[in-house]
């Protein structure tokens, strides 16, 4: 069986959906952050698949770029979470309402 672009897209959609569900439903900020990584990687799969199909290297470059951004995002996000935890002793997203009116 030949693995076509459609298969990649289905995989990517499945991963993306998992990520969204994770972001929407979990209360632990770290899990949410991990779910975001999942969504980014789903996008990466898409980029690579189309790059391959269209024989265009820009998609791969973009994927590498996304990985760099994801790494930075993870670093900043974890830093924030760490600082927050030191103050409030929690990582529950429902208790993060400090900026509310």
């Amino acid at each position: 069986m030949i693995i076509t672009t459609t298969h990649y897209m289905l995989l990517s959609a499945a991963l993306f959906t998992l990520g969204i569900i994770g972001v929407m439903t979990r209360r632990n900020v770290i899990i949410i952050l991990m779910s975001i990584e999942l969504m980014l990687n789903a996008v990466n799969i898409n980029f690579i698949a189309f790059s391959h199909q269209l024989q265009n290297v820009v998609g791969q470059v973009f994927a590498v770029f996304v990985i760099v951004v994801a790494a930075a995002e993870a670093a900043v996000g974890l830093g924030i979470i760490l600082a927050f935890y030191r103050n409030k002793e929690t990582v529950n997203i429902d208790e993060m309402g400090l900026m509310r009116w």
């Binding site: 969204i20 993060m96 509310r100 009116w101």
Partner: protein, 759 residues
């Protein structure tokens, strides 16, 4: 003669020195010497100037010196539509009339200064210097008054002497009556000055000048206002109002008797010899104006004789020695105005001069008596002073005979001249004047009798243990010597140790003797033609009373090139022909025109004149004899008469209740109107102010309401609306991150859906 401006300045300098330095630092001796020496210098200068004046030919005896411009030329609209130049120089003019006046002022002023050294001896040091400063200041202003060559300079002196009069009457200002009298004199004089100043305004708008000579020339060219009460009559009447104030005539005479509260030298100098004659002088100075207004002349004559008569009747019954003399002064001033009123300007001025001598003498004698009696002024407590103070007695007797009109003393010639001219003019007025002369002789001799004759009625004194009367005389002589060396005491206070009546010190008797000589011989300058005399003074003074073209001598030219003079030859030349022609006999032709029965037609025979003269001597003698009989021979007659005529006596004693009348009418009216004005002020003016304030407060309150509820309300409304609306909108901000993420997801779905569906 170009230095005549120094004559007023010298006493002014003395006043400045004594007033600024002397009050603090000078001893009594220094203060007196400073004042007297400046007066002496002024007298010497005046004598020199007068001598020079006599050296000129009669028609050139008019010399003007303009020291400096005062008010630079201001163009002002005149009543005839042209534009006049209101130009006032510090100008001084010496002519026969002012020459006579400066001699009287400096001469008598000098003697009174000398007299004051003795009289004021008991005063404290500062007060002594103050007194002399005021006295010098007075002489300064008086000389300004008589020497000024225009109305404004004269007015400066006029007001200045009023001020000094006020200061000197109130010299003993701790005494309520003295300060009240000073205020009364000042205020009454202001009423007169009102007339004077309005008169000055009218003169300027009419003639376009305030220079005496120019006004006289211009007025001389105008027709005599025989039939109608015209502009000249109004002007002269206003000037006369000023004169009544200064010279104590009806109705403004009330201040003069009260002015006797001042020290006696002041009464002698200011309120007898000089200042009160300023009104007479002013009328004489404007003789041309007055002689062109016969109606005013009539009024002047009537007021003069009425004042003379009324004051003489009051003088009959007064008991205060100085008050008798004060009413006598008012009466004699009335005589002077009578003379002015009948056109006998020279006679009036002559009487002014002789009166200055004998009235100053009488006042100084009364001061000597008061001094001797340690401040007692009531004649009922005197008597028999003849043997204690012989010099005073003799000099005062001379003064009394002079005022009574006994020949050949000075008063006879001047008073007789007035009576004669009055007789020619109006027989009724003449009758009153003769009765007044009779009363004058009577009350003056009454004064002499009560003071010097009869028995001594005063307080007893410590005669030095058991000494008899004879022994006392020796003691008294000692007392007199003692007084001469510096004891003495003020005329008002009282001696610490009184040794009974004594003759006054040398500095006081010397002026008495000089003035007595003056009172004796001053009349000889005016011996009337009927007695074979040349009547020198009348011919001497006449040029001052007539309109005449300005004499443009070389000396005047000298004055004009230093200061721009305003003598313009145009108007002078225009009226020259007319005025110069009438000048010689202007007095004879102008004055009596109209009702004043022309003298030319009424000229009396020699016998008639002699008869009048004899009559006036006769009434004088009668008055003296009656007084002698009443008060020396048999004093009970006077008592009995006073009881028999109790009503009239009371009226006279109370001075016709004129003061009370003024109190009830003028003063009460003034007070009532003042009170009314005060009420108006308190209610209406203050009410207006308060109302404005209240209105402001109300509008401010109202405006605060608007601010508070409308402006603030709008601002708050905006806020409230925003706040309320935000209440709804902020519900969106849940603060739940996943909520936001859900919205984003929906949004993405929505966009993607739209994108897909629209494709």
């Amino acid at each position: 003669m170009d230095l005549i401006w120094l004559i007023p300045l010298l006493p002014g300098l003395g006043a400045a020195i004594n007033g600024l330095v002397g009050v603090r630092f000078f001893s009594k001796r220094t203060a007196g010497i400073v004042a007297c020496s400046f007066m002496g210098a002024a007298l010497a200068l005046a004598l020199y100037a007068f001598w020079q004046l006599l050296g000129l030919p009669a028609e050139a005896r008019e010399h003007t010196v303009r020291v400096a411009p005062w008010i630079a030329s201001i163009p002002l609209q005149l009543s005839n539509g042209t534009v006049g130049r209101f130009f006032i120089p510090w100008g001084f003019r010496l002519d026969p009339l002012s020459g006579m006046m400066i001699l009287v002022v400096t001469g008598i002023g000098f003697l009174i200064h000398v007299y004051s050294i003795g009289y004021m001896h008991g005063e404290p040091r500062g007060g002594y210097a103050r007194f002399f400063a005021y006295l010098n200041l007075f002489v300064f202003f008086m000389l300004m008054l008589v020497l000024g060559d225009n109305f404004v300079v004269m007015f400066v002196g006029w007001e200045g002497v009023g001020l000094c009069s006020y200061l000197l009457i109130g010299y003993w200002y701790e005494k309520k009556s003295a300060s009240d009298a000073g205020k009364k004199a000042f205020i009454v004089n202001r009423i007169g000055d009102w007339g004077f100043i309005i008169g000055m305004f009218l003169i300027f708008t009419t003639f376009g000048s305030l220079d005496f000579r120019e006004v006289a020339n211009a007025a001389g060219a105008m027709p005599t206002e025989t039939a109608s009460f015209g502009l000249l009559s109004v002007i002269t009447l206003l000037l006369f109002v000023g004169a009544t104030g200064k010279s104590a005539q009806i109705p403004l005479y009330v201040w003069l008797p009260d002015a006797m509260e001042g020290p006696t030298p002041v009464s002698a100098l200011i309120h007898a010899a000089t200042m009160v004659t300023a009104g007479v002088y002013m009328v004489g100075r404007n003789a041309v104006l007055f002689s062109h207004a016969p109606m005013t002349m009539q009024i002047v004559a009537v007021i003069g004789v009425a004042t003379a008569f009324m004051a003489a009747t009051i003088g009959l019954v007064q008991n205060d020695i100085k008050r008798v003399l004060a009413y006598s002064t008012v009466s004699q001033l009335g005589f002077m105005f009578l003379a002015m009123g009948v056109g006998a300007f020279a006679a009036g001025a002559f009487h002014l001069m002789t009166h200055a001598f004998f009235k100053a003498l009488l006042f100084l004698c009364s001061g000597s008596v008061i001094h001797a009696m340690a401040g007692e002024q009531d004649m009922r407590h005197m008597g028999g002073l003849k043997k204690y103070m012989p010099v005073t007695y003799v000099t005062m007797l001379i003064g009394t005979l002079a005022i009574a009109g006994i020949p050949p003393l000075s008063g006879f010639f001047s008073k007789d001249e007035i009576l004669y001219r009055t007789f020619l003019s109006n027989r009724i007025i003449w009758g009153f004047a003769v009765v007044t002369a009779l009363m004058t002789a009577f009350y003056m001799y009454r004064l002499m009798s009560l003071t010097f004759f009869g028995a001594y009625r005063g307080p007893a004194w410590d005669a030095g243990g058991g000494h008899g009367h004879a022994a006392h005389n020796g003691h008294d002589n000692h007392g007199a010597n003692h007084a001469a060396t510096g004891h003495g005491g003020g005329g008002h206070g009282g001696h610490g140790e009184w040794h009974g009546p004594h003759e006054s010190p040398r500095s006081m008797t010397f002026p008495l003797q000089v003035l007595a000589v003056g009172a004796l011989i001053a009349g000889f300058v005016g011996v009337p033609a009927a007695l074979g005399g040349p009547n020198t003074i009348e011919h001497f003074l006449e040029p001052s009373f007539v309109a005449r073209a300005v004499v443009a001598g070389p000396s005047t030219a000298h004055a004009t090139n230093t200061v721009p003079a305003l003598s313009e030859p145009a108007s002078a030349g225009e009226s020259k022909g007319e005025t110069a022609g009438t000048a010689a006999h202007a007095l004879e032709t102008d004055a009596p025109a109209g009702e004043h029965a022309a003298e030319g037609t009424h000229e009396m025979s020699w016998w008639g004149e002699m008869a009048l003269m004899a009559l006036s001597v006769f009434v004088g003698v009668i008055g003296i004899l009656v007084a002698f009989r009443f008060y020396v021979r048999s004093p009970e007659i006077a008592e009995r008469l006073a009881q028999r005529w109790a009503g009239p006596h009371r009226v006279l004693s109370n001075k016709y209740y004129v003061d009370e009348l003024y109190e009830a009418t003028v003063i009460a009216g003034t007070m009532a109107s003042a009170r009314g004005l005060w009420v108006f002020d308190a209610r209406v003016v203050d009410g207006g102010v308060n109302g404005t304030g209240w209105l402001t407060m109300f509008s401010a309150w109202f405006s605060s309401l608007i601010d508070k509820y409308i402006v603030d309300g709008l601002v708050n409304l905006v806020g409230t609306v925003l706040e309320e609306s935000s209440f709804v909108l902020r519900r969106l901000q849940t603060g739940l991150i996943q909520n936001y993420a859900l919205f984003m997801l929906f949004g993405v779905f929505a966009f993607v859906s739209v994108y897909l569906l629209m494709r």
